[in-house]
């Protein structure tokens, strides 16, 4: 076809037909076309398509009316909020709502038990402070969590059972609230013990209870997400009874059980890692579908 060595421009003809070609390429095509019957024929096809489709079927809306509508819509409908932001806002809302539903008795009981621990620590003197706090703080946290869930304790249980918010997510929200409160309580208790009995440093006091408290809570959280709050509280309480027994019963204090307990219930990189792993597992479990009122459903909000 191009015996004279001419370069065809088949690829550019569609652009040429609508006038989208510019510059040197346009010049090349215009120089080529008069001498090339093949490209002219091909162009005819593109030109026919262009002629049929290049013009709108109807005239576009006037600029004034369209821009007016756009500005009205922009003013009336707020731009879509990114999902992440909406989710954070939702969690904040949930925490505020749950704060109102947690019974005052939970806050009060935690406070009273912690005050007792402080009294014991102050009376016991040397070394008693960290032991007392390390035994009491985790139990207070778990008992507080036990106090926030279940039909008997939840004034909104009936309403909750028919909403789309997962019961597990509600439990997570309440645990967050109670844990935050207990953390603050235990911190305050440590500060008071430090003032009353200055022989133990504040860091030692806090590390005596912080690791055990978060680990026990994470353990009970996973169990709550997995099997429900009743089993969770029972297991956590049983574990803690053993822990207290190995400390307070002299016959047990030297055995393998006591050694194991001492290794596990401390603040160490290992326990922190275990706590984080358990919390992650709890979050994953909290996203499972829930069986409620005879049917499975997947909560939409989480």
């Amino acid at each position: 076809m191009s015996g004279d060595g001419m370069q065809h421009h088949t690829d550019a003809l569609a652009e040429y037909a609508v006038g989208a070609l510019t510059g040197p390429e346009l010049a090349r095509v215009e120089a080529h076309l008069p001498g090339c019957a093949s490209c002219r024929a091909a162009l005819l096809g593109w030109t026919a398509v262009a002629a049929a489709t290049v013009a709108p079927v109807a005239a576009p809306p006037s600029a004034a009316s369209l821009v007016g509508s756009v500005l009205r819509r922009a003013a009336l409908a707020p731009p879509a909020v990114p999902v992440r932001k909406r989710r954070l806002g939702f969690l904040g809302q949930l925490l505020r709502a749950e704060l109102r539903l947690v019974s005052p008795a939970v806050w009060l009981a935690s406070l009273v038990v912690m005050a007792c621990a402080v009294a014991v620590a102050a009376a016991g003197g040397d070394g008693a402070g960290s032991t007392a706090l390390s035994l009491v703080a985790p139990l207070v946290a778990v008992a507080g969590v036990a106090g926030v869930y279940g039909p008997q304790r939840d004034p909104a249980f009936e309403a909750l059972a028919v909403t789309v918010t997962s019961p597990r997510l509600v439990l997570l929200a309440r645990v967050t609230l109670v844990f935050g409160y207990d953390l603050a309580l235990a911190m305050a208790a440590s500060a008071i013990v430090r003032l009353v009995a200055p022989e133990v440093g504040l860091v030692d006091l806090v590390s005596a209870w912080l690791g055990p408290m978060t680990l026990l809570l994470a353990l009970s959280l996973v169990l709550a997400m997995w099997t429900g709050p009743t089993v969770s509280v029972a297991v956590a309480a049983a574990v803690w009874v053993l822990r207290v027994a190995t400390v307070s019963i002299p016959e047990l204090a030297g055995g393998w059980l006591a050694d194991g307990m001492r290794a596990v219930w401390v603040t160490s990189p290992g326990t922190v890692a275990a706590t984080l792993a358990l919390v992650a597992a709890a979050v994953v479990l909290s996203r499972r579908p829930v069986r409620a009122r005879g049917g499975w459903y997947r909560p939409v909000a989480w």
Binding site: L44, A48, V49, A50, A52, T53, A55, P60
Partner: protein, 210 residues
């Protein structure tokens, strides 16, 4: 020898140039207008619409196949431009950016998922860009018949033809909008034209397909 582009098409080329002058002889460049839109200047949005509205609407109408739907998508597009003008990064031309937004809004409204990246384009030897007699036969068909057959095309064929013809975009810009190489744009165009020729033949507008 006369070059076979009808005068009515040539006059439209000129009208495109005239539209680009909207706003007077000292018309501000597109990116400056978009910067003003980002600052909340509605007049700049109006000028931008005067420049591109006709081609955008033409593209949307051919793509959506319905005037009312096209108007809705055009409004969605302009709203998106109004809200996200500050996100224009200057990596592509303003026109390309606008068509990209219009295409996304059309997909949203039409619930069309981006055409699957079927590897047909990449199959060596399958895509033959040389037009056969059937494609050339399009030249002899009435505009109305072509427009009729166009509406029956698959969405991905309508999309590429609408961008190239109603949008009057160079292939380089279409490639940017679709996120594919220029060569793919060209081969898709040829496939779309072949599909159009088949559609015309099916409707009896074109003599026997070979």
């Amino acid at each position: 020898m006369p070059v076979p582009v009808p005068d009515r098409l040539r006059s439209r080329w000129r009208s495109r140039g005239a539209a680009a002058d909207a706003g007077g002889p000292s018309a501000p460049p597109d990116d400056e207008l978009l910067a003003r839109v980002a600052d909340g200047d509605a007049a700049a949005l109006t000028i931008l619409y005067q420049r591109y509205g006709g081609r955008l609407f033409g593209f949307l109408q051919r793509y959506a196949g319905d005037r009312m739907v096209a108007e809705e998508i055009l409004q969605d597009t302009l709203l998106a431009v109004w809200r996200s003008a500050h996100r224009y990064g200057g990596r592509s031309g303003v026109g390309t950016w606008l068509f990209g937004i219009a295409r996304r809004q059309a997909h949203n409204r039409l619930r069309v998922h981006a055409p699957q990246q079927v590897p047909l384009d990449s199959l060596a030897g399958w895509a033959d860009p040389a037009p056969g007699p059937a494609e050339w036969a399009i030249a002899g068909v009435q505009d109305a018949a072509i427009a009729d057959a166009f509406e029956a095309l698959a969405p991905q064929h309508r999309e590429i033809l609408a961008l190239a013809f109603a949008g009057r975009l160079p292939h380089r810009e279409i490639a940017e909008i679709l996120g594919v190489p220029v060569g793919t744009v060209k081969s898709r165009l040829h496939h779309a034209r072949a599909a159009l020729a088949r559609e015309l033949a099916d409707r009896g507008y074109v003599e026997e397909m070979p």
